[in-house]
Amino acid sequence: MTKKAPDIQDEYKYGFKDEDVSIFRSEKGLTREVVEEISKMKGEPEWMLEFRLKALENFEQFPMPEWGGDLSELNFDDITYYIKPSEKAEKSWEEVPDQIKDTFDKLGIPEAEQKWLAGVSAQYESEVVYHNMQKELEELGVIFMDTDSALKEYPEIFKEHFGTVVPPSDNKFAALNSAVWSGGSFIYVPKGVKVDIPLQAYFRINSENMGQFERTLIIVDEGASVHYVEGCTAPIYSTNSLHSAVVEIIAKKGATIRYTTIQNWAPNIYNLVTKRAVAEEDATVEWVDGNIGSKLTMKYPAVIMKGPRAKANVLSIAMAGKGQHQDAGAKVIHLAPDCTSTIISKSISKHGGKANYRGLALFGRNSQGSKSNIKCDTLILDEISTSDTIPHNEVQNNDITLEHEATVSKVSEEQLFYLMSRGISEQDAIQMIIMGFIEPFTKELPMEYAVEMNRLIKFEMEGSIG
């Protein structure tokens, strides 16, 4: 039952492509003119243009990161920075062009789903084209719209928070996103409002060599709570494509936010994302983050616990196949007393893939009584795949607790024999072991995402036995 390194299927299940329906696309490459054009097309206020141009300067000044993954083949001049697919964000499903609906159908988002989803805001290329919000949410004062519209409709609350958690000067890719951002979700939940149903967005890149630079900003006011869910399924491309998003979350006193992502990128996409949250006193921030596919993912969801008793939970899985590198992890920054954080990271590597955990646990001078528990589990499916755990700890206070546990396992011959001795085929047995391995993650997902997740993993595993 020793497994030889199998041939991976090169076709990609969601690799269908629709005809390009864009009505505007910028020239390839990034210049001051492109940035000005984007801002002008969007009719943005002056401060946003200045913000973009300043970010562009940062982007040009910052060197390419030399840690994490190999970015040497990423050519910034060969990327389209802005594509506008249709005139405006659509208000109802009926107004969404049929062709775009087809794409969503192929992604397995049935129209019926919208009936029970609270609000669906799906990003098609760079602009939100479909946006639906349940009436009762509006009545509660919850704002859930695409980020471009929020800039126009809620300029004050927007300006107050935008770029405060992830400033353009943070890193090269945050700077890039700040210069050319387009689309993304904006959520504001007013004081004390608890949103019971998950707010969902579906993302998809659909143009060759196109970068997607969405920008998400979520503000959860005091005592409020919300669960935001996004999933991505990208089609296959012949050349490299870049996805570089920024997500900013502000959880005010006593607020609770969970942000769930499943990203399934085509195997040639660079997925370089900055996700960060600030948790104030007694606030809870949870990142549930699933990364499948892409050529290289570098993503380390962070929570800065600024107020006493703030909580952070990060639950992530990463799956790396042939030619893929997942460099993912989490950052938990404890800056106040009695903060608690938990990181559970699960990674799977196969067919020569590389899945690394890279994490930071920081305890500031005032973090007495804070606790962090970090658990990294890795499953390596063959002899040619690799995984590394690269934890980084910074402790400036003696009165803290930090626990770190890492396990590396293989699908053991005994486990396979056991399952097969009950009549289960080798392929199903391996799948079962993998599903079990990521079960702590899938059980946290809303039902339809759990189903999709299982389907994706099954597909990823198909034909993986020699």
């Binding site: 039952m1 020793t2 053991s412 011959e413 005994e414 486990q415 024999f417 056991y418 399952l419 097969m420 001795s421 009950r422 009549g423 289960i424 085929s425 080798e426 199903d428 047995a429 079962m432 072991i433 599903m435 079990g436 391995f437 990521i438 079960e439 702590p440």
Partner: protein, 261 residues
């Protein structure tokens, strides 16, 4: 279903180049309970694992057939689907997979696509069998063998046997690490299943188990082969007198397989 028949002829098996089974023959028919007894290191568990097709065990010569079909050509999962079941001495833990999901997958693998068991029927049957084996209901939703005590693991093996309804059930040291109450429950499960549609091979080195699962045939294994066969009285004699008398009769000094013979 006609009466099943497992036939083992002159089976020779090696592990990592070392010969363990040195010519073993045995026939088990539906309705029969065979017990293989013998001290440690005589090849008993090798026989069990070989019959199930564990990749570590290499068949050098001989044959194994189930109802005339060549078992040795089948992969482990195929053997299981044909009706061979092995209750393991050390069942694996499968984290994140519930006992119920696991069992249903196993049953459906055997039934084949388009003929899956209905969820309701499955749940009812599993609940019934679990209650028969005095297992808590929570075991259905616990992860396969994870955090189970020794006794719970063995009950779980018997539960699987009862759900899968094999033609040939091999119980490899099912009694090891069991207290008397757990042993009785395990035996109750096996006895419940006894009948012309299932043959049983019990592997043990204690006669104790055979007080509860009555064998029709008892075989003594030494040096990788069956050195004596008889009825239940043979097990009783072993219990009373140990193995030495047999060794003496056969002129064996070292009964383990490491002995060159």
């Amino acid at each position: 279903m006609s009466q099943p028949k497992l036939t083992i002829e002159d089976l020779q098996v090696s592990v990592e180049g070392k010969k363990i089974l040195k010519g073993l023959s045995l026939e088990i028919k539906g309705g029969e309970v065979h017990a293989i007894m013998g001290p440690n290191g005589t090849g008993k568990s090798t026989l069990a694992s070989t019959l199930m097709g564990h990749p570590k065990y290499k068949v050098e010569s001989g044959s194994v057939t189930l109802n005339g079909e060549n078992v040795l050509e089948m992969a482990t999962d195929e053997r299981a689907r044909k009706g061979i079941f092995l209750a393991m001495q050390y069942p694996s833990e499968i984290s994140g997979v519930t006992n119920a999901d696991f069992l249903r997958s196993a049953i459906n693998a055997r039934r084949g696509e388009g003929n899956e068991i209905s969820l309701i029927k499955f749940v009812r049957e599993m609940e019934k069998k679990m209650s028969f084996l005095e297992m808590k209901e929570s075991f259905a939703q616990r992860y396969v063998n994870e955090g189970f005590s020794g006794g719970e693991k063995k009950r779980n093996e018997i539960l699987q046997m009862m759900m899968l309804k094999p033609q040939i059930a091999i119980l490899d040291e099912i009694d090891s690490g069991l207290d008397i109450d757990a042993l009785k429950v395990v035996a109750k499960g096996v006895n419940e299943m006894k009948g012309p549609e299932m043959g049983v091979l019990v592997i043990t080195h204690y006669q104790r188990l055979l007080n509860y699962i009555k064998p029709d045939y008892v075989h003594i294994m030494m040096q990788g082969r069956i050195v004596r066969s008889g009825g239940p009285e043979l097990a009783e004699k072993l219990e009373a007198e140990g193995y030495d008398w047999i060794k003496e009769e056969l002129g064996i000094e070292d009964e383990t397989v490491s002995q060159r013979s």
